[in-house]
Symmetry: D2
Subunit: 444 residues, 4 copies
């Protein structure tokens, strides 16, 4: 293990043993419902594809991610991991990871900003040859502060919509200096994790934080991308009346044609009972909206950062502010209206006190893709010679610097593993059908 | 307050003050979303309909029920309350209730059987003139052990499907000696509480206990009554593949025509991922079913009693048994399969560690009906003379001994209050339309 | 066959043979998808329960009803039938029925009022011992004009919501002089025919008449009874935004909690794209509503009579009126707005040019219930002695004069036949479970 | 007008005047519900963008397409049009088009193969400078038999999934010699036309052809692309139990996670009640499947060509074959099972006798995109000089030969026009939000 001044989680806890036991129990439950990762893990154990590699990870450190971390470690990698959000770390899981000899975890819940970035630095001090990000913290820190490491990095993988968005912007500026797989953009991630994962877990988190129901509520969903579609669909599936706000006309039309009401936020503000932001953008719910809202509304965010609801403005407007329930902060207006912010406007399916993050099964899919992407990166470079120094360039022979879509075949491989695990059989094309689809000279 | 040896909750807690504060905070949140009870409370405060009455209650003592308890107390009644399930009491709410001078609460979480029934006796010792039950514990105890009180009882109200079922059986035997309103059977209760309340809160409780998702799961719903319909609808709304088991052919057909798969439990056992019982009957999932189930299934109950899943048989079959997560007990079979029981097979939306019970809004409807039913009972007897002794007969002039449907007008009144609170306006019949509906002599 | 001056359908057609062939082809298709009636028919053929009875029927005479008519005839009855709506008769089917020696049909499409009632008189001239109605035309005509026949009538069965409503009013007035089964009110009728049948066929009829789609449309459903629920559910299932109008607060609340918008018609008028009335009442859409409607709206009725949309008022408002398409009459307002009335405001799933009436399968259920109800009536009287005169009293030993619910056992029998035909198996209660449900003395 | 030996529709009809009147009435209805085309038409009338251009079209010639044809003609183009399917032409609409001086129509219903291709040749004889295809018949015929015209062609637009698929294959072979816009692939086409249009109209066509219902049916949807998703969603919305067959694992998984059953066709064959193919491929339902099917099943196709259901094989298996209803051919097996093929296995929403094609509103969206694509093509070349000969090269300055995606801005323009017409307002990004989305240097 590399030396670093920042203490690993085991060094920070009083009772490491019981934390590990509790963390292990959580991981066992997750593994029981993660057939894809378990399948990939078995392959990795047999093939040891990551022999000699160092993987740096900044992820939500809880039971499911931990299975990915272990899966990579069992493939032979030395793994250093930290959190990507100060509130999403489970210390017990973080500790349990360190039971594996190849893993160091710096993730700890509730760290302050300074500690948060120190932990990222600690991961970087391991001189990773591969980075795995959930919000591109590692990519950003390496490019900004440790450019000397870039030569030794094969590539990376990024999990989130927001991270990929920022990476693409960076790539467009010519500033991204190693290849990164946009895991977020694969069908296997977007169609399942974003739609089903975000949708179900955000709603369940809110329901179990507030004890309120969805039936008959006006639920305003800001943004109709994959996450927004998931939230809208699941809310309608609980008999809410869904109202969508959008800035892209085709998405707005898509929502309208789905049967939802579409209107500007300025209008929705006055009729909504619950507001859920999923845009990935800032200032989605702001002062002019707070002023119109009804007494007792809920405000929550299902986008990556806590910038969608302008809490500063809300705080300025409020004459009083208090904890109405665990996970609910009430802002009282001077006319007596109470606007209730769930989970401080952070990702509600991670940051609410009862939250457990995305459901196990959908993370299994995302992490399965992550795992085979990391293998793909390693397979795209010459194997490191036995006598190589750690800092020789590791440029991929296949992937240039920049954002890369996950190769379709990897994505399909994960889908096939999942279907097999679910006992779902499907058809395959006959030769004649293949030919037909490839040809173009058929008449009416 | 009546003397009784059983200590009230305030006498049992170490720090009553802080419990009361916490309980009050919970009650304030509930009240904020219970416009019906708040409306009725205002009427009761003004009218004091329960002056001189003593109301005995056995209910799930948590924030929402507490609003009903207070509402009745503020109408002038002396109220004694205890739990109707040892696991559903919130001690802080129980304590907060006693801040009201008219209320005594004996409800405490985690009491044993003896204490449970002692608390019921303590309520009965207050010699209630009205009983309000959630599972008919009070009615049963009074008829069995305190028949001398019956003369002084005006009537009662019963909240649950199961309780009403048992009361009707008792009534059919000629054994029910005072009138009881079957609150459960009103449209306002069955269509909302059972369908939306049970459905949403059961699913959210399971999701937040297990971190699993519904999308693509085979969810087996046992029973297609109101609760079963709610669970099935909400599960389908989360993209589960719903399988229904039933014993009544028309309900089975109804489920089939809704697009669900219908099959016997013996067949469903082999394909289900999650099993949710809602029948109100015993032995719905038994040994022969456990034997066929897949590894990793979830077993949960949304019916009143913990008798639907035969846990004794499961325990006999298991070679090991351990807590897989908070609220999940894993039973391991000799072939390695793990069957995971959520919340000990008790009402999952109440008994799981994260559970909050039915959503606030649907309880508001049920409790609104309860409140006006209690007023209806009181209005159906001659006002107690100022000099009356407490034990003179209080027979209702309107309602005979037996189970009574809630008068339609009361039920409608609650619907109107709710719609007004939601800002929903609706039509009314013109005179011509009234006449048309009443007449029969119109041609084609 | 009884003598009557009114000509039967065969006497009215030029080419009876080809009409019968065409009608038979339609009936064969229906029979192929009516497993319940086919099952009952086999029983009737074997048992001949209607030997010596005369059944008068006023029904929509098309392929499906024809299977019921045949089923009764094959049970030994002499059947006389006419239409219950001048636009719903298929002359070919009417003719095909007369191929059966026990059947006379007076139903003909497009008859005028005088002919319509003459045909009803022709049926009554057969001196029916049982009446089967779809809108109580026979019951009304017999009570008003042929009271002398009542003594010879065992009873009747009524198919529709509206008919049953009027019968109950008549019964309340003490004016109904023989027993009539309220087939409409059985679960097997209301839950399937009204919800699924009316819903699906009304929407498909409108779509195939107008070539318009439902996605994104504001569909205003007037009335949230069984029919309204079906229309609303199916429209939402085609991605319409459903708006419900109601006069009963609990139904209004039910719609609201389902996630629909609820508002008065006066408000809905301004935003609706399509208006569908299902109330059974008159004057549901009237002048003040027409004045607010948008250009291009559709107006259609799914209730029994063409009185829900006030076409006279619309005609008065219009400056022009023309056939915009087959089945669509455009009423042009002086400001250029065009309000399009589908199928003249008559039952849209029967009266639109492309309409085929309720789906075959749901009619199979209703007609199965009708058939066993008629058998039940016959079984409730002493068999007619061989030498009896036709006009001796035939009072049922079981059913008094008045409206009767269909006995539960008959209804369940039909459900079981259907499930068996669909290959759907279901559970049955064990003895222990039966006992449990019947008992009331079980503790928590 | 160009000379050609093939007669235009007006030359083929006996009563052109009454056909034109009837066709016009149909077109007026369509135009009333096509706000996008009406908006674009107004722009075209004002701008005359197609002055001097000749547009050749092969489309389903019915009311909606006719609005597109007119819209282009009113923009100044000389338009020659024929059908793209012998069964989809409405002769009255075809005739009505010729009332416009710029339009010649060769489309006639029920032509044989020879006539079909002669009509295509007749269109080509007009020497189009732009082609608009629905199945790439024009592109194919020009490339194969009239390569000399290619130099004079600016480009084309293709409407269908299948056409685009074949064009891409042709492009991959380097065989496509002018630019063609893949209209089918735009969000505005795929998300609305394919999902809502195909879904709703296919189901309504089947329902109104068979008089059967969807509730409780096992509906097997072959293919889970955009069309398949639409069919599945709309069938589930009518309470069918949807079963999906797929060959692509991610789509199979997507269907599974939606809550549908996924299985190979060989398995689905035995349980399906209705089979709907949407794959665009051949031999989807074949002999081995027919052998397993239940009596009374329906077989229908919603894919472009009638090759998905192997009717030859079915005919070979059948011992009898007859018209069970208009639009339904029954194939009787030797064991008595009847397999009912709807609309001869051709596109069911076009080819069934009652069919009206895609709903008006969704075609409005597709045709709006078509119209602005054609304008885009014209704007991408130098304006033709006043004295230019008709056959000088017209190469686009912007678009190379090959398949081109519709520029996003055009697609969005159509969405905005539609939203405005529907009265739906939506948000736009603030400058700060724009900047945020473009930047990447924001911390957690």
């Amino acid at each position: 293990m590399t030396d670093t001044e920042y203490p690993s989680i085991s060094e920070q806890l009083d009772d490491v043993a019981s934390a590990r036991e509790e963390g292990r129990r959580k991981m066992d439950w997750a593994a029981q419902h993660m057939p894809i990762c378990e399948h990939v893990r078995e392959e990795f154990v047999a093939e040891q594809p990551f022999e000699g590699e160092r993987i740096g990870m900044a992820m939500h450190v809880e039971a499911k991610t931990a299975i990915l971390v272990e899966t990579l470690a069992e493939g032979g990698a030395e793994v250093a991991v930290t959190g990507c959000n100060p509130l999403s770390t489970h210390d017990d899981v973080s500790a349990a990871l360190e039971a594996h000899e190849n893993i160091t975890s710096y993730a700890k819940r509730g760290v302050d900003d300074e500690e948060y970035y120190a932990a990222i630095e600690a991961v970087i001090a391991h001189e990773p040859t591969i980075t795995v990000d959930d919000g591109m913290d590692l990519v950003a820190a390496i490019h900004e502060d440790h450019p000397e490491l870039i030569d030794g990095i094969i590539g990376g993988a990024e999990e989130t919509t927001t991270g990929v968005h920022r990476l693409r912007a960076m790539d467009a500026d010519g500033a991204l200096e190693y290849p990164v797989f946009a895991v977020n953009d694969t069908p296997m991630k977007r169609l399942f994790d974003n739609v089903h994962g975000t949708g179900e877990s955000s709603l369940a988190s809110i329901a179990m934080t507030t004890n309120l129901s969805w039936a008959g509520k006006n639920v305003v969903v800001a943004g109709y991308g994959y996450c927004g579609k998931g939230v809208a669909k699941k809310a309608a599936g609980q008999n809410a009346n869904v109202i969508v706000t959008e800035v892209e006309p085709r998405r707005a039309l898509e929502a309208h044609m789905e049967g939802y009401e579409v209107m500007p936020m300025a209008e929705a503000a006055a009729v909504g009972d619950v507001f859920l932001t999923t845009t990935g953008n800032r200032d989605v719910v702001v002062e002019e909206h707070f002023e119109k809202m009804q007494d007792g509304v809920l405000l929550a965010n299902a986008g990556h950062f806590d910038i969608e609801i302008d809490l500063d403005a809300l705080d300025d407007l409020a004459v009083d502010r208090y904890e109405a329930r665990d996970g609910v902060e009430a802002y009282e207006m001077d006319d007596g209206r109470r606007l209730n912010v769930v989970a401080e406007g952070r990702l509600v399916n991670l940051a609410a006190p009862v939250s457990l993050g995305h459901p196990v099964e959908v993370m299994d899919q995302s992490f399965g893709v992550q795992a085979v992407c990391v293998r793909e990166l390693v397979e795209s470079v010459e194997p490191r010679a036995a006598d190589a120094s750690g800092d020789e360039p590791r440029a991929s022979d296949v992937y240039d610097a920049g954002v890369h879509d996950v190769p379709d075949e990897l994505d399909k491989e994960i889908a096939e593993i999942k279907l097999e695990a679910e006992g779902v059989d499907f058809d395959s094309l006959t030769e004649t059908q293949h030919e037909y689809m490839d040809s173009w000279d058929h008449g009416t």
